[in-house]
Amino acid sequence: MSIVSFLDKNKHFNRIILVLRDVMSRPSGAIGLTLVAAHLVLALISPLIVPYDYKAMNSALMLSGPDSAHWLGTDHVGRDVFTRVLLGGREALLVTGVATPIAVIWGGLVGIFFGLVGGRIDEVMMRVVDAFLSLPWILKMLVLIVTFGTGIEVLIPTLAFFYGIPVIRIARAATHDVVARDFVSAARARGHGRMSIIRRELLPNVLDTLMVEGAMRWSWMLLAFSSLSFLGFGVSPPTPDWGLMIADARGFMSFAPWGVLGPVIALSSLIIGINLTADALAKALGIDRAQKAPI
């Protein structure tokens, strides 16, 4: 292995470490990453640590308050709320965790492609993208879900497809910015092939923007997913999911608020965590140049 290519491999690893360190050095990054990491760990190990079976209904204990046996009380069919809260993020994280990278990758590739191609095709494509974006998100997704069902094999592609569309615009804009710069002209003048220019000059510079965008996409997708679950179009019962739990517990809120508070805190903390991380990441990568976000 030559010295040059060795330095190459090291460079990627080094950069990741440097960026992570930068993110953690900021209060927003530290809090955000911790929250996200905590949620991810929880999602992974929760089935091993939950005290009860999430399906176990107990008609004698419906809507009972928090006590030593049930730390967050029980829901309207007697299931342990604490258990369900711990498990509630698994489905959401699975679905969005798979759909987000797909969305960013497909949207990014299409956006970069059209950003490079330019011309008439690009203009037409942008009209189509705009047209898609003009439709209400719920409509787009519900139409597919209602027709094909709510299993994850429908949810993942649906979310990935519709959330990839805005990425097209962003990737295209980033591509335009990079292509205008001299080092790309220099590569062209040298006679490098198109694919080589995309791979070596364009992608590394556009990837930063896409990464930050990816983080934001993830948080919006989680919002959408939990909204869908809330409306009854996402996860199917009895799978525990925070959105669904809030929907179920809503009616009993006046006298049994714990059924709502648990999932509310869980869901909010995850989404806030992702957003804070995205903010810190943008600053660390130098995308938020004016260092505008407050923390």
Partner: protein, 319 residues
């Protein structure tokens, strides 16, 4: 200038046309049609054929598209799946309700968010900025149904100040929606303000750190005049676009709020008609919302062009 206007209108119309194509083909591609929805389990054999013929569903797609599009342009959106009611009537009610909700939220939210955005931008990193920005992050990231639920818990159940649910029927006159509309408006305002505030803040900071503000300072222009005469006209330009997006969102994207509060708007209708497979209604709503979105964006673009001298003047002598 006029050329630009015509070009934009043209492009907007093209976008709406493409949307209508997408909507129509999308609906076409789905299994089932208005008849299968209407007849449900009896949708087979002769009954199905007759229904389709009566509805004109056995004609080629292009023909149906053109007919639908042509009448839509004239304001006739057809009839609902069960063939009973005029869609225009049905949608009309819901649309007016959604407009009311949107208008109230905008009236409250836009001035508030711009004001707060400017304040946090001018006093960046001070206590007021940190407080408001943190609140904004919360308002933005917490799902609407969560904030709605929490607010209902707070204002309706614990404090009992406001009704937590809307019981007024869809066709009622607008005035009857008060005070039930207040909590939904509050929630929407909260979310909207968070987004616009962040954006305005960012823009204000950028402009205040810029060259011409520094020059005005060095020219001895009093600070407040710099803010109002030099900085804000530039800093608020991007707000036009964000407000446009917000308007579009208020009309088509607030389904969850409508469900939580039982508000009879377009969003609820969307869900109901999708669940009922009432495809003509779905098509119609999609078209309306999309048209509003395109129209609002167009207005925002034009407004920006008017407000931004650089875009306004076509003949530029630059070196």
């Amino acid at each position: 200038m006029l050329r630009m206007l015509i070009r934009r209108l043209f492009l907007g119309a093209v976008t709406v046309a493409i949307v209508s194509l997408i909507i129509f083909s999308g609906v076409e591609l789905l299994p089932g049609d208005a008849c299968t929805a209407f007849l449900e389990r009896e949708a087979k054999g002769k009954l199905l054929e007759n229904c389709r013929e009566a509805q004109g569903l056995n004609r080629p797609a292009i023909e149906r598209y053109v007919e639908w599009a042509a009448s839509a342009v004239q304001g006739d959106l057809g009839v609902s799946a069960n063939g009973q009611k005029s869609i225009s009537e049905l949608v009309g009610d819901r649309l007016k309700n959604s407009l009311l909700l949107a208008a109230c939220s905008l009236a409250l939210g836009v001035p508030l968010s711009i004001f707060l955005g400017v304040v946090t931008g001018l006093w960046r990193d001070r206590p007021i900025d940190l407080t408001l920005s943190t609140l904004a992050i919360f308002a933005m990231t917490i799902p609407e149904f969560v904030s709605a639920t929490v607010l209902i818990l707070l204002f309706s159940i614990w404090l009992g100040w406001l009704p937590g649910i809307v019981l007024t029927p869809a066709h009622a006159p607008l005035s009857e929606f008060f005070p039930e509309i207040l909590l939904p408006v509050l929630v929407l305002t909260m979310v909207m303000t968070a987004h616009i505030l962040r954006m305005v803040r960012s823009s204000v900071i950028e402009v205040m750190a810029g060259d011409y503000v520094q020059m005005a300072t060095l020219k001895g222009v009093p600070h407040w005049r710099i803010v109002f005469r030099h900085a804000l006209p530039n800093a608020l330009l991007p707000a036009i676009n964000v407000v446009a997006l917000t308007i579009a969102w208020l009309l088509g994207g607030v389904v969850v709020i409508e469900v939580v509060f039982n508000y009879p708007g377009l969003g609820r209708m969307m869900i109901d008609s999708i669940s009922d497979r009432d495809l003509p209604v779905v098509q119609a709503i999609a078209l309306i919302v999309a048209t509003v979105y395109v129209g609002v964006n167009l207005s925002a673009d034009l407004l920006t062009m008017i407000a931004n001298p650089r875009l306004r003047t076509m003949h530029m002598r630059r070196k």
